[in-house]
Amino acid sequence: MTEKIATPQTFAQKALARAAGLDRVEVGQVVDARPHVVLSHDNTAAIRQIWLEFGQPRVLIPDRIAITLDHAVPAPTTKHAQNHAEIRAFVAEQGIRNFWEVGRGICHQVLSEEAIVLPGQTILGSDSHTTHFGWLGAFGAGIGRSEVATLWATGELWLRVPETIHIVLEGDLPPGVTAKDFSLRIIGDLGADGGIYTAIEFSGSGMHALSLESRMVLPNMMAEMGAKNAYIAPDDKVFDYLATRQAKRAGQGASSADEQLVNRKSQIVNHALFPDPGATYAAEYHYQAAQLEPYIACPHSMDNVVPLSQVAGTRVQQAFLGTCTNGRLEDIAAAVAVMRGRQVATGTRFLVIPASSQVLSEAMRLGYIQTLVEAGAVIGVPGCGPCMGNHMGVPAPKEVTISSANRNFKGRMGTADAEIYLASPAVVAASAVKGVIADPREL
């Protein structure tokens, strides 16, 4: 009798096998996945319209649904406000507890802070940047509205098991070079379709040297390469972050905290999934951190990437720091380091929109907001802001924006005849000071 040798599995294979209740899955196989979390945002009312067609009075598992209001907050028009009102009514009617109001922040940031998603789990969302949750070792993928409606009604959705691309980063990023720059370099090298339908696995000494906030940037940006999901192996820093926040959400007091925290953490650790050694990858790319530099994605595609030096001096009318990609405390701190003692250039607006209320609160406590306001920056309500052109910083025709966001398609920020350059937070801030695309290291 021949013994079957089980082939090593990638993270994507393991995560989807678990979500589908199977022992193992093969690349190309289609499984019926039961995600642990289903995410939607301002599009929840439209999804509800589809869900109503199913004729179900109640969603199947309310505790697996997570909804934030973030894409146009606070409501810029009556129509938006009515949209939000319908969502609130739906949430109340269905007893959905995982709902965050206007001002709490951007979905991916909020769900991370609230420890809603854990390592080894699967989250599907009607948002293309649901890949974000790979930062904590979860399988996160974007889906369509009718698919979220289906999940509300049935709890399950078909998913095809992707092949995986392995990206390795060795060494520490040099000063002035960030996870955003690394992301742009990858997309520039592989192309905007370089990761279509694939899972991405990151590894290497450089990855674990990254702060948690820096790790959040990479899986988020991999959506711009067509990736289905992107994964970074969770480590102790991740487990501690999640256990602490999970405990806080459960309202655990300080006294009995320690033992319960240890229990929480070990449960989180035990649930984590890691790729098997020797798993098969469709491709492997190695990067030496020391060889990376600041990059810019030029109009109008995310793979139109050049070194910063090539476009330095380009006039900008608007600088935007924010979004799920780069709207966190670390990003604001990088901007503050540039802005301290300096002023925003005349003729340039500098918009700073923290990704969440917690980021805003902490930034205030540390004096960052004061410094930014004194430097002439404009502080916005936590949310997506002008990223996709709804409000809070739509550019005028012919204007150029330098942005810390993830997309620069023509017309993305609401005006077709405008240009968007993508960059890291410090570059955005330096450009605000100079009024042209500038290198913060040269200020």
Binding site: I61, T154, W158, I196, Y197
Partner: protein
């Protein structure tokens, strides 16, 4: 069960603007109208000569670009039985199956099939049969096949729920 028709063969990186032009996205509605503009900027002969059951056969990254659902539905409305490609853009793939259009990623078959030749897809055995031989493709899960056969995700789910599917599934 099988699909049988002639192959309409195309190349790599065919984006959704070319499958269904963007200028029609908001102005063209209705099945017949949408069908009329399928592959307009890629192959004007397609809408003239396509027969029900015919197949689209493509290279890499079919359906890249915009997520517009008409890229899938315009093929359905022309009676296309299936799309076989070396690879699909992810969103097109999902849109296709969720609109009842069978999308099969099978590089060997996609490369072997010649333009215009007769192709059979044996849905029961998951085999593509053409002059060059037989090519196996990974089976769709029963639920996805059910989606395609029901004519799309919403129709499929409605039917299943009406038949009491919810009772069989976990609720916690």
């Amino acid at each position: 069960m099988q699909i049988q028709g002639h192959a309409w063969k195309y190349g790599d990186n065919i984006n959704t603007d070319v499958i269904f032009p963007g200028k029609y996205t908001y102005t063209v509605t209705g099945r017949a109208e949408i069908a009329r503009h399928a592959l307009e900027d890629l192959d004007p002969t397609f809408v003239q000569k396509v027969q029900p059951g015919d197949l689209v056969v493509a290279g890499r990254n079919w359906g890249c670009g915009s997520s517009r659902e008409q890229a899938a539905s315009c093929l359905v409305y022309n009676g296309v039985g299936a799309v076989i490609a070396e690879s699909f853009s992810r969103i097109f793939y999902r849109n296709a199956l969720n609109h009842g259009l069978l999308a099969i990623a099978c590089p060997a078959a996609a490369q072997a099939i010649q333009p215009g030749e007769s192709v059979v897809i044996d849905l029961d055995r998951n085999l593509i049969q053409c002059a060059a031989g037989e090519f196996a493709y990974p089976p769709l899960s029963p639920s996805v096949m059910g989606i395609v056969q029901a004519g799309g995700l919403v129709a499929y789910v409605k039917r299943k729920l009406a038949a009491g599917w919810q009772d069989e599934k976990m609720t916690g």
